[in-house]
Amino acid sequence: MMEKPSDCPKEESGAHRLAALLRNNAPESADGERDQVEWQRLLRSVREEDARDLRRPRVVRWWMLAPLVACVTLAALGVFRVLRAPAPLRFAQDGNAPAGNYLVAEAERPSHVDFSDGSRLVLHPSGRLRVSNIETDGATLLIERGQVDVAIRHQPSCRWQFDFGPYAVRVTGTRFAATWNPEAGDLRVDLFEGAVAVRGPGISTPVTLRGGQQFRANKAGSYTVRKQPPAAPVLPVGAPTASEAAALAAKGRHSASVAGLERATSRSTRDPPLCDWAGLVSRGKFAATIAQARDLGVETALAECPPHSLFVLADAARYQGAFDLSERVLLAIRTRSPDDMGKAAFFLGRLAEARGNLALALGWYAQAMESSLESHFVEEAKTGRTRVLGRLRTRQARPSPMVP
């Protein structure tokens, strides 16, 4: 094999001279007799090795155990996770473990359902519900019929949902009562504390309810949000006495009011003060909203208030039954804000549909489908158009008693 010469020939030659000094240190003379003796000694050692079977000692290569160790570690971690994973919520009906997920209240007395996280609900007489899904941090309950009083313990990651026919009420921690009549398609939700989001037919974006508000919807797809009548007693989380329920209900209303006031205050830094009606509407004060707008001057408001405030005013007018004012506001939005033309057209369609003017509603829905930049308004407009066409075909075009 040809090897490259050293980079430094002088060093190389010096090393060779030193090596020669070692190599030439009195070379050993050949000694055949000693060589034979040494060979015999080696042979004896080899035979002893063979006799002790030490010729090929077992070598344990510890690194070969690494995959096994890794597998065992992973398996142990998996078992640890499974053992440490939180268990799904458990529930009991009237203090007893239920036979299944379908719960029925007797005709004479209500049924109490307690969940392991402290959440509770009361199923009123003849009510029926199904626990369709239960997880570690919440559950999905399908209310088939009847009234329920619900108190959900608030936790950062809790996920509760109550389905009433086509409507879904999403909860993160609250107390409310709900009544569902599947034959009439009527849903009523009275919220005492916290907040819920309601979705369903005729609801373009989830309707967020605050404490003290009442949500009502009917089969025609109309819904209202208004201030609820005086609060009925409702059970608090983990403490089912009526007195505590009343106290907590009052506290809930108070905190909701404070929260609404704080929101109104924070908004006032962005909008003109007299146009900020979101706080009032969230508290169900629709009449006060309209009164403030009239005090300001409707023409002035329509000319100067930002579009999002005008939408709030239009909503308040619709909830209050002031359809003319609502229509006027929406038309003003279409004139002032081209970006909001589609959204305003959709609400004008809903308004016309609620007033029984189905031909006009069809026109507005068509405009909303053409001009809306927001996809969910397009979808809602398509739904509304299909609904109106159905009503026209069945000649049942009558104005809804409910405000859309």
Partner: protein
């Protein structure tokens, strides 16, 4: 098979162990062939002893260490990566055993540090030149201060005249690592030798000598 053809078959002569290659000898030793082991002994005993003498000088333990080298080979013949590299393997084993012996003696004679070198190095051959004896003793002192791997690489490369590839096989390290060890060993030995009066003479070429 045609019986007529069978008569034409001629048995090939079995090579004598002395004529076998190192690789064949290793394979035979793996099967327990003592004749092959004897052939290995005959072929490599002298180089192994020479390597041990280079490291230890003329020492009473040379024969014992040579026994240990061949016994170690007999135990681990089946695990040789390259059976044809038998010579590097045996010389590498000899160098390592010599280093281990020096370390053991150093530990044993720690209390007798004044006599350390004579105990480790064994007897110096009775060279006719006193300067040569001084130089040899000084060179062993220099080598004793070089780290094991570099010292082994230096001895195998320059004293036993192995190629860097064979040095790598002898020490069980990659070729690049062996080259670096040779270079570093040479640098360290020469650096220290330059400060030893008895060795300076050997570092000069014949033209440089006065």
């Amino acid at each position: 098979m045609d019986p007529g053809r069978k008569r034409h078959l001629v048995a090939l002569p079995v090579p004598l162990p002395a004529e076998m290659t190192d690789a064949d000898l290793v394979l035979a030793v793996v099967k327990g062939d003592k004749v092959a082991l004897r052939a290995v002994w005959d072929r490599h005993c002298a180089p192994v002893r020479a390597t041990l003498r280079s490291c230890l000088g003329h020492d009473d333990t040379i024969d014992d260490l040579a026994q240990e080298v061949f016994l170690s080979f007999y135990r681990s013949a089946g695990r040789l990566r390259d059976p044809s590299a038998l010579r590097p393997y045996l010389l590498g084993t000899a160098v390592k055993l010599a280093s281990a012996e020096i370390r053991a003696r150093t530990r044993r004679n720690r209390l007798y540090r004044l006599f350390h070198w004579s105990a480790v190095a064994g007897r110096i051959a009775q060279s006719p030149d006193v300067d040569d004896r001084d130089a040899l003793r000084s060179l062993r002192e220099v080598l004793a201060r070089v780290p094991d791997r570099e010292r082994h690489a230096f001895l195998l490369r320059y004293v036993e005249d192995l190629t860097p590839m064979e040095v790598a096989q002898a020490l069980g390290i990659p070729k690049g690592t062996a080259k670096r060890a040779i270079s570093e060993g040479r640098r360290r030995v020469l650096l220290r030798a330059q400060n030893v009066p008895a060795l300076v003479h050997y570092l000069r070429s014949s033209q440089e000598r006065p």
